[in-house]
Symmetry: C2
Subunit: 151 residues, 2 copies
DNA sequence: AACAGCAATGATATGATATATCAGCAAGAT
DNA sequence: ATCTTGCTGATATATCATATCATTGCTGTT
């Protein structure tokens, strides 16, 4: 990722936090930047190691969990429940609202592509859920795939 | 669940294992039965406790993990990655092939309903994945919902 | 500037989930 | 009967996540 692009995203992240009243502190920003620069999802402990190595600090995993929770609340990162790893949102700098995220996870190289689910599919899914007597609250789809490179 | 119904399912499970060459041992069968009788998903450790209490044995969690893995391979149980819990398949006694499972998980009472995703939606999803340059391998959808009773 | 209030982080402990590994055993095949 | 393979026991360890209380550092008020 180009530095210019990165700065744009970080700027937008700042805006999002300002708007919500959250504080994008330097640690939170550092973690977010690290996530943005990673091309694979990272576990909380991997984030901790990376952060500590790259900054020479010694933040505890506990703090990283808190920061990841914060970033998740702001929808700046997402947690993949199928792998217990975290990934930066691909749509931070986009202007559209954040739809149901759909993650395509490569089973070989672990790379992840976040796409927004088509409205039509989302509607149909919700309809199916309603037919079963349930009310859809909030979900993300995590699809096990093979990416172009690996296939 | 009626005992007759339970026996039918266990018989079908036996058939499935025979067909695949796996052995539905008494322990495996005991775990499966326990899962079938539970109306909420259970963690591996919860399964361990239940099994040990109901049989007076002292199986280690390690063995339960192995058994759950086996049952999962045979598609007799599924693992919900969003909650790290296991649930018996709802379609064991059905004759149709096992489609992409779609789990509706109630956020209040934890009950789970497993429905088969509509073919049309599955196709559309696969098409979306293909458009993104990925190839869908094998997925299940876990949707966070509120069930009828709880809403 | 002093203070109060609240948000963020530090520090430590513990709990929950999952895998690795090697040894012993049981069932079916030759 | 011996062999092979798959199943289970037993123990250790790795990985993921939360609980709790103390401390620090903003921010807005007096
Ligand atoms: Zn996103
Ligand atoms: Zn790949
Ligand atoms: Zn099923
Ligand atoms: Zn419910």
């Amino acid at each position: 990722m180009k530095e210019q692009q990165l700065n744009k995203i970080l700027g937008k992240a700042q805006d999002i936090c300002n708007h919500s009243g959250g504080r994008l502190t330097s640690k939170r920003k550092g973690i977010l930047e690290l996530m943005l620069l990673s091309n694979v999802p990272l576990s909380a402990y991997e984030v901790t190691d990376k952060y500590n190595k790259s900054t020479g600090s010694s933040m505890a995993a506990m703090s990283v969990y808190r920061i990841l929770d914060f970033l998740e609340t702001e929808q700046l990162v997402h947690k993949l429940s199928s792998t217990n790893k975290y990934v930066a949102c691909s749509h931070i700098a986009c202007s559209h609202t954040h739809e149901i995220p759909q993650f395509l996870i490569c089973g070989k190289c672990q790379s992840v592509k976040e796409i927004a689910i088509a409205k039509r599919i989302a509607d149909e899914l919700e309809q199916e859920v309603a037919n079963a007597g349930y009310k859809l609250v909030n979900s993300q789809l995590e699809l096990q795939c093979i990416c172009e490179k690996c296939s």
